[in-house]
Amino acid sequence: MQESALFEYVLRLSDDSLILAQRLGEWCGHGPILEEDIALTNISLDLIGQAISLYDLAAALEGKGRDHDQLAYLRYENEYKNVLLVEQPNGDFAMTLLRQFFFDAFRLPLYEALMQSPVEQLAAIAAKSVKETRYHLKHSSEWVIRMGDGTEESHQRAQAAIDHLWRYTNELFYEDAHDHALQAAGKVPAMAEIQAKWMATVTSILSEATLEIPKNNWKFDGGREGRHSEHMGYLLSDLQYMQRAYPNMEW
C-alpha cells in the first residue's frame, strides 16, 4: 500500500512540474521583453529537470520498467494527476505570473518539508529543487508586486488574474487516503501545514502589491483524481504529438 501511495504522491509532484513547464515553454520567443523571455525559459528548464528526477523516482517505485518519458508522454488524460492550476492557459503575462506565484508559494514550503522526509531519494530531489524554487518564488513575487503597484492597467490585469485563478488554489492542498497513509508513516508533511505557509506568503506579497484576496470562495478541484479542465486535452495533444504519431521510435 505504501509503495503505491508513494508512487501516486511522486507522480503528482512530477505531473505538476511537467505541465507547468509545458505551459511556460509556450512563452519562449513571445515574452514582453527579451530579458523576461530568458527568465521564463529558465523556470521552465528547472521544472523539466525536476520532472525528470521525479518521474525517475516514480518509475523506480512502480517497478514496471517504465522510464521517465513513458510516464511523461504515454498516459491517458485521466492518468495525469497534476492540479488544475498548472494546466490553465497562459493568458496574459499577469495570468502567467500569478499562476506561477501561487504555485511557487506552494512548492517552496512543500520542498522544504520534504527535505526532511525519510524517503531518501525524495529528500534529495527536494534539496536540489528547493534552491530553484526559492528563486522562482522571488522572481514571481517581484513581478506580482510590480504589476500590482505599477500602472492602473497592470493593477487591473493582476487583480483579474487573481480573481480568475483563486478558484484553483485550494486544490494545491488536496489530500486523500494516499496522503494520509504517508503522513501517518511520517514520510510527507500534512497539507494544513503547507497551506498555512502558503497563505502567509500570499497575504504578505499581495498586500505589498496592493492587490486583494477575492471574497469568492468557490473552489475547483479534480486534477489530483485525473478529472481535468477542457484545456488539458489540447495541452496533451501537443505534448504527446510525436509519441502518438510515431509510436515506438527513439528520438
Binding site: E35, I38, A39, K138, H139, E142
Partner: protein, 95 residues
Amino acid sequence: MSTNEWPLWEVFIRSKQGLNHKHVGSLRAPDATLALENARDVYTRRSEGISIWVVESAQIHATDIDEAASFFEPSDTKIYRHPTFYEVPDGVKHM
C-alpha cells in the same frame, strides 16, 4: 504609449572566488532588483559567476577619449616603474 524604455545597466561578474568582477555586457531592467535577476539569467546560464554587480550605465563616468593622450601617455615614459628597467647581475636569484 510605451516610449519609456527601461534603463540600460552594465553587468560585472566575479567568475570565482579570488578574481575581480569583470564587465561582461549590458541589459535593460526597470530597477536594480530585476537588473540583478536578469543578469543572472542572461549572463550566468553556464555557471559563469558567483557574484554579480549591476550599475546603471548612466551612472558610469569615463575618461574622455579626446584627453586620452594627456591622461595616459605621461605614464608611458616612466619606464623606471617596471622591474625590467633595472639590471641585476646574472648570479642574483629570487629577485
